[in-house]
């Protein structure tokens, strides 16, 4: 090809004929992104979810800056036991006199961290299994799908509890328990998509040119299934945050760290219900609800953008 060397500067709108390969690719990506954004913007619920998500992530990241972490120490608690909301403690105090607002802000960090890490683990396994099952055929795929179906049918929470119980309570345990039990949905989705991509002519061409399995899977299949992985990831973070709360509530989390689930667990065991300490129950629970809802709304909007069959639902 006789394209001039890429200068790295964006081509002026008029000089379309003299574009380098790389700038063509860049332009195409930019256009795709813009098209995606135009589609996403038409989903009001998705936009609301995105804004909510951004606010919560920002608050979680800013927690060390806007609050004093000393308040997390039980021995340095300044408030009374289960004190109702007041000027000093806008959302009341917990059973050791710590500010519920402070705990909730710091809890966001652990809840989101676990949610995102567990999701990355699940997505990794799911994508690997899905692409492998779609790419290779025969007994290998049969085996993979058998295992996937088994994981889909099994009660997730029961499996996660069993896994977490034998591994002992810790943050890693929770991440592993959630990740290992929540990949099968993604795997099936990715497999279906992989089969569709594999049927396209350009993959046949790549094969004819001698592309190996690895090249085919990483260069051709993976980029094509990525949008679906993205939508699936967002939905998965929602259920991973819920799962984290659930497992922590059951006492399988790291007892030394504050998460929304462990706050609710302590609220339950310290008798917040009988005491009538609604502020201690309401705040972490609503936080979970809002985060899960925001991620779910984003995930549904992404799905609608990527999958025209669902558009307008």
């Amino acid at each position: 090809m006789t394209t001039p060397p890429d200068t790295g500067t964006p081509t002026p709108a008029g000089a379309e004929a003299l574009r380098s390969v790389r700038s063509v690719v860049r332009q195409r990506r930019k256009a795709a992104l813009l098209r995606f954004w135009a589609g996403y913007r038409r989903q009001p619920a998705g936009v609301a979810g995105l804004i909510g998500m951004a606010v919560i992530v920002a608050l979680a990241l800013a927690a060390p800056v806007i609050t004093n972490s000393a308040g997390l120490d039980v021995t340095q608690a300044t408030g009374d036991r289960l004190q109702p909301p007041s000027a000093a403690f806008p959302l009341g105090t917990d059973e050791t006199g710590r500010s519920v607002l402070l705990l909730t802000l710091w809890g966001a960090r652990i809840s989101l961290l676990v949610g995102v890490t567990a999701t990355l683990l699940a997505m990794g396994i799911g994508t690997l299994v899905g692409i492998a099952a779609g790419h290779f055929g025969g007994w290998f795929t049969g085996l993979l799908m058998r295992v996937t179906d088994w994981f889909i049918v099994l009660p997730r929470l029961v499996l996660a509890i069993a896994l977490a119980a034998v591994l002992g309570p810790s943050l890693t345990t929770i991440v592993v328990a959630i990740g290992v039990t929540s990949w099968p949905g993604t795997a099936r989705l990715i497999r279906a998509q992989t089969l569709a991509v594999e049927a396209r002519p350009y993959l046949e061409r790549a094969r004819a040119l001698g592309a190996g399995h690895w090249h085919q899977m990483t260069r051709h299949v993976l980029p094509n299934v990525m949008p679906l992985v993205l939508a699936s990831t967002t939905l998965e973070v929602a259920s991973a945050v819920l799962a984290e709360a659930t497992l922590s509530f059951l006492g399988l989390g790291d007892p030394a760290r504050v998460s929304w689930g462990s706050m609710l667990s302590r609220a339950n065991s310290s008798g917040a219900i009988t005491f009538g300490a609604w502020w201690y129950l309401l705040t972490p629970g609503l936080a979970i609800l809002v985060v899960v809802l925001c991620f779910t709304l984003c995930g549904r909007a992404l799905e609608a953008v990527f999958n025209p069959r669902l558009r307008g639902r």
């Binding site: 069993a162 659930t246 339950n268 219900i273 129950l281």
Partner: protein
């Protein structure tokens, strides 16, 4: 817990021509001779056998993974048993021998397999009773709670999902989708705690926990009424959290059917909108939904564990939670086996019934 979009995509919306119902068994028996019917019967038998085989493999995997999880990953049961009691090495060795832990792993697996097949799931550490009898004693309470919640959630969910999907984009639809997504996002146990605080703690309308009050007269009606009184809040909690998925699934199913040609025909015949929905759209949309409902039974089991924990409802979920607190590994293993087996069997049954009900799948 998230809805699996691939499943939704595989629903018979993709099956060409939604007119499956008219091509049902009635036509098959008039057109073909007895031969074709028995061929279909053979196909069905083969299908059932394949499904049963699949279920058997799944069950084997459950049994194997239970052994692997609790015997290999689970650490030394002797440690767990003697945690609070000072023991001499000789006593530990004796205990090891009594539990069969001195034998090689393969032999332990054989013994374990024999136990599972003969209904012996070992002794609970904390109760000093056979795990099987503990499970048996708690089963009734769980069936009562989950049964009530499932019936309520499925019927409400399918009804509301149909109406929402039928009038897609209406205020009713938007409100129902919003409510469902919110309920789906709420942690079950938190919802339960809020319900307890509002209805039991502040309003005092219902008991806070348990299944029966201690001083209820020992006759049928007082006992039944008291149990019902205790059942209201936990059943309400479980229903609220699981019903949301049924609304979304049924709504999506109805949307798949909504533009089908047979509905246009039905309308062209001059049928009222209600009749088109009830007699034509719903039966076709129901079938994929039923499969999904069964696939999500695992989620129901999770909901039962949490609801029973929060309300101290004396069922299998609370049993599992109590086992988790110790941790009482044989009991945990037993509940794991029980829940998994129940869900796998229910799913297999659903697959077979689905095939029996849906002629589109049967003839393909």
């Amino acid at each position: 817990m998230s809805m699996d979009p691939s499943l939704v995509a595989e629903s018979p919306g993709a099956v060409p021509g939604g007119s499956g119902r008219t091509a049902g068994p009635g036509r098959g028996s008039t057109g073909g001779a007895g031969g074709s019917r028995s061929a279909a019967g053979r196909g069905f038998a083969k299908y059932v056998l394949a499904k049963l085989g699949g279920a058997a493999v799944s069950l084997l995997m459950v049994v194997f993974s239970a052994f692997f999880l609790f015997r290999v990953l689970g650490g030394d049961p002797v440690d767990a048993l003697t945690r609070d009691v000072p023991t001499t090495p000789a006593e530990r060795a004796a205990l090891r021998e009594r539990l069969g832990l001195d034998q090689p792993l393969s032999l332990q697996f054989v013994h374990y397999l024999q136990g599972v097949l003969t209904g012996d799931l070992g002794q609970s550490y904390q109760y000093q009773q056979p795990v099987t009898s503990l499970i048996g004693a708690r089963l009734g309470a769980t069936v009562l709670l989950t049964g009530t919640a499932l019936v309520l959630a499925v019927s409400l969910g399918l009804w509301i999902g149909t109406r929402a999907g039928w009038r897609q984009g209406s205020t009713f639809d938007k409100v129902q989708v919003g409510v469902s997504l919110t309920l789906w996002s709420a942690p079950t146990f938190w919802f339960g705690m809020i319900v307890i605080m509002v209805f039991a703690r502040y309003l005092g309308l219902f008991p806070i926990n348990g299944m029966v009050s201690p001083y209820t007269p020992d006759a049928f009606w007082p006992q039944a009424l008291d149990t019902l009184h205790h059942l209201v809040l936990p059943a309400l909690t479980m229903t609220a959290v699981i019903y949301a998925q049924y609304v979304l699934v049924m709504r999506s199913s109805i949307l798949d059917e909504k533009d089908a040609d047979y509905l246009v025909t039905a309308r062209a015949k001059g049928l009222r909108d209600d009749d088109v929905r009830r007699r034509h759209a719903v039966p076709n949309a129901l079938l994929p939904t039923v499969t999904l409902v069964f696939l999500q039974l695992g989620g129901v089991v999770g909901g039962a564990i949490l609801t029973e924990t929060v309300f101290s409802w004396p069922g299998l979920g609370l049993l599992a939670y109590q086992a988790l607190r110790i941790p009482d590994l044989p009991l945990l293993q037993g509940t794991f086996l029980f829940f998994s087996t129940a869900v796998i069997l229910a799913n297999t049954a659903a697959d077979v019934v689905y095939r029996f009900l849906d002629p589109r799948v049967r003839h393909s």
